[in-house]
Each structure stands twice: as C-alpha cells, then as structure tokens.
C-alpha cells in the first residue's frame, strides 16, 4: 500500500493487519484424541490452518486421516470417547472451545453450518423436509412457521430443488440422492452462514449430479460470500473448487499451498502420489501409479514421519524424527525431510502442455 506517511515497515504491518482481518477461522495446534478401551487414538494431531473470508479451503486425504474429525472438532460435535485435548479454534475472533454449550448451539447451523456426506442418514427420516428445514429458522431466528415456510421454499428453489412446494411436505426417502443433498445444502444455508463445512458432500453422488452440486456451491459462494471448508478425498473435485488446500495424513497436515501451486508443484511424496494415482480422462497410459501399502491403523505406532512406511524416498532420518511443516516456497509448506529438492527438480508431474489444452 503506497502511503507517504508510513515507513515501508509500517505499510507492511498494515498489510499484515489487513490479512488478519481477512481470516474468518483460525485453527491453531488442534489435537483431537479418542480415549478408547484399547488406547488413545490421536485422530487429529496438531493441525494448523486458517480460512479466509469468501474463500474455499480444501482438506484432502484418504479415509482415516482425520479430515472429518477436524470438521466435527470445529463445530464441537464430537461424542464420547472423542475430545479436543489441546488447541485453539478462533472464529471471527471468538474462541469456540471456551464457549458454553448454549452459546455453541447458537452458532451451529447459524453462523457455521455443515453438510454431511450421506444425506440419507444425516436427514431425519420421520420428519418432512419442510419440518426439519423450518426448524432451523424457528430456532435461530424466531420466525413464525408461516414465514419460515416461505423462506424454506425460497431457499429450496434457489438450490435447484424442483417443485419446492411439493418437496416441502415430502419425506427424505422419496427423494433422489441429488435432491436430498440439495435439501441438506438448503438447510445449511437458511441462516446465511459465514462458514460452511462440507464433508465429502458429493462422494455419494453420480458424476453428473456431482457436477451440478459443485456448480451450486460456486454460485453460493459468489452470491453469499460464504467461506467454505471442503473435505474430500478426490483431488479432481478440489481442483475445481478450492482456493487453498491442506493435505492431511494420519492426523497431521503434510502439505499446504494455494491450489495452483499445489497442483503444479507438489512437494510432499504423499501429495505427489495422490495426484499420480488418480485415473484421468486425458491420460493414455494404462498402468496406474500406486502408493504402496495402506494408511496406518489407529493403533499402529509409526515412528518418525508417519508416511515413511509407504514413501518411496524414505531415508533413515524419516524413520527416526518427525518432520515439521516448513516453508518450501512462498505460501507453500510441506512436512518432509527430503524437502522436495531431490524429486522436486524434475518439475511439475502433471501439467504437461498437452493436458492444458481443451
């Protein structure tokens, strides 16, 4: 910001402040553990990230990496034996973890709402769509049932539910998967939340319906300036929607970068593996790249880097010491001992010129 009165240092500071105001949700050193009879499971093990206003953060990883638990921790929806044991979750400057249950309830579904993976099990089967959607407005905004009905029908039609008046009185099981998911999105948007957590919202859907839902999420963001945390295991989906991405593995963030940076120059071997093993329409080879082995189980104690058991580049240091998340490029962090130098110089693995066309 060019301004004569401020020294260069001062203007930098001002820039930083602007950045801070831009941040809607800041998660710092989050630890969520499950205290089971068989031992403690560290589902989320020291996670840091932030979500900017009106932007989408993608959280990527395989099942069991702690993505969903991170989302549930933010909303404090964890049930026994799970508990957030350490960390801070600041939302609009407020520390969510220190709120009372009553204060938290005023936030859930109102300023922060969530879309679950499977609408069939997340929606209530014994209430009509209208009843469960209106409830949001009755509770959070004290609307009259009549007004709520008008608002619900309006929201249903906005998210592309056909014949919203008819759907209002229908039960979940008569609707198709795509309509169910739209109804759940409508429910999440009724109070115009500042933050929308989407936990694999398209995984259970057909590709054609998935494309419709992604388009819808983009429109919502443009219209309402909602920030979105989009959780998925599908890098193809995330490439279309996210501005920033964090990659999780075994409860930790292993890489974090803006979307273009991450796809053009992935530094962590896990991210590279995830990208390479994806079957692609624009690729000719028939043999797919594979990441050997599987995600370590909750009770498997892996020393050092949690990924070393599957990593092609693992050295002795990887087995001994846990790598920290370090800056490898501006805005780009990776947690890897090899640091990306040895294989990073080979250049971006995906974006060859031929795949950019079309």
């Amino acid at each position: 910001m060019p301004c004569g009165i401020f020294s260069i240092r001062g203007s930098v500071k001002k820039g930083e402040k602007h950045m801070e105001n831009d941040i809607l949700l800041q998660v710092t050193d989050l630890h969520t553990h499950f205290f089971t009879d068989d031992g403690v499971v560290k589902a989320v093990d020291g996670v840091n990230f932030f979500v900017r206003k009106g932007r989408t953060l993608g959280i990527v990883g395989e099942s069991g990496c702690g993505k969903s638990i991170t989302a549930l921790s933010i909303l404090r929806l964890l049930d026994h034996p799970g508990r957030v044991v350490a960390g801070e979750i600041r939302f609009k400057g407020e520390e969510l973890l220190s709120l009372t249950e009553k204060e938290m309830r005023a936030i859930r579904g109102c300023t922060i709402s969530i879309i679950f993976q499977d609408p069939m099990t997340a929606l209530n089967p014994v209430l009509t769509i209208g009843d469960q959607l209106s409830e949001v407005l009755l509770v959070h905004q004290g609307m009259s049932p009549h007004k709520a009905k008008v608002a619900v029908i309006d929201m249903l039609s906005r998210v592309g539910v056909t014949e919203p008046e008819k759907r209002f009185d229908q039960y979940v099981h008569v609707l198709s998967g795509g309509i169910q998911q739209r109804a759940m999105i409508a429910m999440a948007l009724l109070c115009k939340p500042d933050l929308l957590l989407a936990d694999e919202p398209t995984t259970a859907l057909d590709v054609t319906i998935q494309a419709q839902i992604l388009e819808l999420m983009r429109d919502i963001q443009n219209d309402l300036e909602t920030s979105i945390v989009f959780i998925t295991h599908d890098l193809g989906v995330i490439a279309e929607l996210a501005h920033d991405i964090v990659v999780m593995y075994a409860g930790k963030i292993v890489e974090s970068a803006p979307v273009r940076e991450l796809f053009n120059d992935p530094r962590h071997p896990y991210t590279q593996g995830l990208l390479k093993c994806l079957p692609r329409l624009d690729a000719e080879e028939t043999e797919l790249f594979t990441i050997r082995g599987i995600v370590p189980g909750p009770f498997d104690a892996v020393s050092g880097c949690p990924y070393h058991t599957r990593c092609r580049y693992a050295k002795s240091i990887c087995r001994e010491r846990i790598p920290m998340l370090e800056e490898v490029a501006p805005d780009h962090q990776a947690a890897c001992w090899i640091g990306g130098d040895e294989y990073g110089t080979a250049g971006p693995i995906l974006s060859t010129p031929s795949t950019r066309e079309g």
Binding site: Q212, D234, A239, G273, I294
Partner: protein, 331 residues
C-alpha cells in the same frame, strides 16, 4: 475368426410394482430394457452409467443371479472360442446354475457386505472348493488357497483371518481371489473400486489389469467413473435407463464420443488441474424413473439437442464407423 465368448441378445429385466389389496401388478420397473452386446475372449467391456440405469441388473443376469424377463445370455462353451457351441446361461434352472457359475464369477461393489463376517477366508474358499470339487486328488485345498492369496497380493497366513481384520482394499483382494478360485472364463466386476480410497483404487485396478494379462481373463467391468473405465477397458458401453446408448472401442470412444449423453458424462468428470477451464455440459435434472420411461428417445428430457423427432421415435443403436454404435437421431 474366433467367436465371441458371450453374446447377449435383447436382454430385458422388468420388475413388477404391486399395488392395492389384491397386490395386482400396477406398473413395471424396466431395469434392463432390451440390450445386446458381445464380449470377445480376453477383452474387457466397460459398462458405464449413472445409478439406476440397470448396469448392475445387467451384470447379475450374466451370472444367473437374476432371471431375465426376456432375452438370452449365450456363453461359448467350446475351448478357445474356435467354434460356436453356445449355452444360454440366463435360461438355466436353479439346478443347472452350477454349470454357469463355473464359467462366470462376480466381484461385488461393497467388500464390507459381500464377505461372510463369520467365516475365515480359508473356510469361505474351502466351501467353494468342496462344492465344485476343485482340489484334485492328493492336492490339499490349502495349496490352492495359498497360491491364490499370493496371486492377489496377500500373505498365505491371512487366509486364517476373518473379514473384519482386513482393510477395504484387502477385502476387495479377497473378493477377487474368491472369484478366481474356480478359474472362470468371465468375471463380472460390479463397481469393484468405487468404495475404495484413490490410492487403494489404483492398486486394485492394476491388480485386475495384471490378472487379466497373466491369466487371460475376460471382464465385464461395471462402473460409473469414465476415468477408471478408461484404464482397464478395451471397449466401452454407455447405458441410460436400461438401454445402451453408445458402444465403441476405447480409443474411438474417448477421442470421438458421439452420443450427447456420453459427452455430458465425460465433461462431468472432475479434472485434477486447476488451470483447466472446461466447457462443461451440465445436464439438468436427474435420471427419470425407470417406471416412467420417457417416450421416444429416453434421454430427450435432459438432452441439449432434443427435437420433435426425439420425443416421438426411439432411435435404434446403429453402426457408425467400424465398431462404433450409437443410438441418436442426430449423431
């Protein structure tokens, strides 16, 4: 020239919808509504479509798990498919089924629900061996099982575990081992990777491709993901509401898709490249109910090209270039 391994002719499967006190048949769900195709020995045919298009029902009729309403599934029983001795699998009675299942096996979509949780892998497989009398005299069943476990990339000691002790990918490997046990000619793979994580999905696809190469297997590979199908199939068929809309060899199919539905399906596949701006053909609405199939071309309600003729007459699946068949008035 070698005869095809399987010839499917005008296959139909209708399910009755009963209503009223007398449980009269009020309507029919036309799950599979007259499909025909061939599969050659050693070939993989990818069968793709959205949920509810009848692809799984079609797969199940191939192995006689579902009796078709009409049509035939002719299986070449001669060696190496050199001459044509065909047997209609779909028409076999319950007793004769055993013959069919010696030739065709199936791998199910969900590895969590398709393995008996109360049986160890060993018992599960030994049952099959005993039923089909697969172990020759003097050769214990254990040898056969150990060999198969190694083929699918598991440890022989794993055979004595229960299904819950395995991860999803390992369970799917067990499903594959079980299907391979009786040395079938054709394996119906019913969405074998859609319940798995991406990294595990790649492992299973490579395993299936390797087995096909090494053992000369033939697959009917059912999936909803065109990118997955591309990696394993030699030919691809697209199904919509119980009918085949397009069928073509892989290269032709992916470079020159003709049916508007195929184009829409392809453009809906998300691409892991944030710089790639695609002209997306967004299909509006959802698949109509198979109880109420639209008149004329069944895709006309969602088709960007739809015209009057599409509402009135149903297009036939006709030859274009070479092996490429399409059911569309305009392409």
């Amino acid at each position: 020239m070698a005869e095809p391994l399987v010839i499917v002719k005008h296959l139909k499967k209708y399910y009755p919808v009963k209503a009223g006190i007398l449980q009269r048949t009020a309507n029919w769900v036309r799950a599979v509504d007259g499909i025909s195709f061939n599969i050659k020995q050693g070939e993989t045919l990818g069968l793709v479509g959205e949920s509810g298009c009848g692809k799984t029902t079609a797969g199940k009729t191939m192995i006689n798990l579902v009796r078709p309403t009409a049509g035939e599934v002719l299986f070449n029983t001669s060696h190496n498919c050199e001459c044509s001795e065909y047997m209609d699998i779909a028409g076999l009675s319950k007793r004769q089924r055993r013959r069919a299942r010696k030739m065709v096996q199936i791998i199910f979509q969900n590895p969590y629900s398709s393995l008996n949780p109360r049986m160890t892998v060993f018992r599960m497989m030994r049952e099959v061996i005993a039923y089909y009398k697969l172990a020759p005299a003097g050769r214990p069943a254990a040898d056969l099982i150990n060999e198969l476990m190694a083929t699918v990339g598991l440890q022989p000691t794993d055979a004595h575990k229960y299904p819950h002790e395995f991860s999803g990918g390992q369970r799917q490997r067990i499903g594959i081992a079980r299907a391979l046990l009786i040395n079938p000619k054709l394996i119906v793979c019913d969405e074998p990777v859609s319940a798995l994580d991406v990294s595990i999905q790649a492992q299973i696809i490579n395993l299936l491709a390797g087995l096909k190469r090494d053992l000369g297997l033939t697959y009917l590979f059912i999936a909803h993901d065109l990118a997955v199908v591309k990696h394993i199939s030699d030919r691809i068929a697209i199904m919509y509401l119980g009918k085949i809309m397009e069928i073509a060899p892989r290269k032709e199919f992916y470079t020159n898709p003709l049916h508007p539905y195929t184009e829409a399906l392809m453009s809906a596949v998300p691409s892991p490249d944030p710089d790639r701006k695609k002209e997306r053909i967004l299909l509006t609405g959802e698949v109509p109910s198979p109880m109420n199939i639209p008149s004329g071309c069944r895709f006309h309600t969602r088709c960007p090209l739809a015209a009057d003729i599409c509402r009135q007459t149903e297009p036939e699946l006709t030859d274009r270039d070479g092996d490429h068949k399409v059911a569309c008035h305009f392409r």
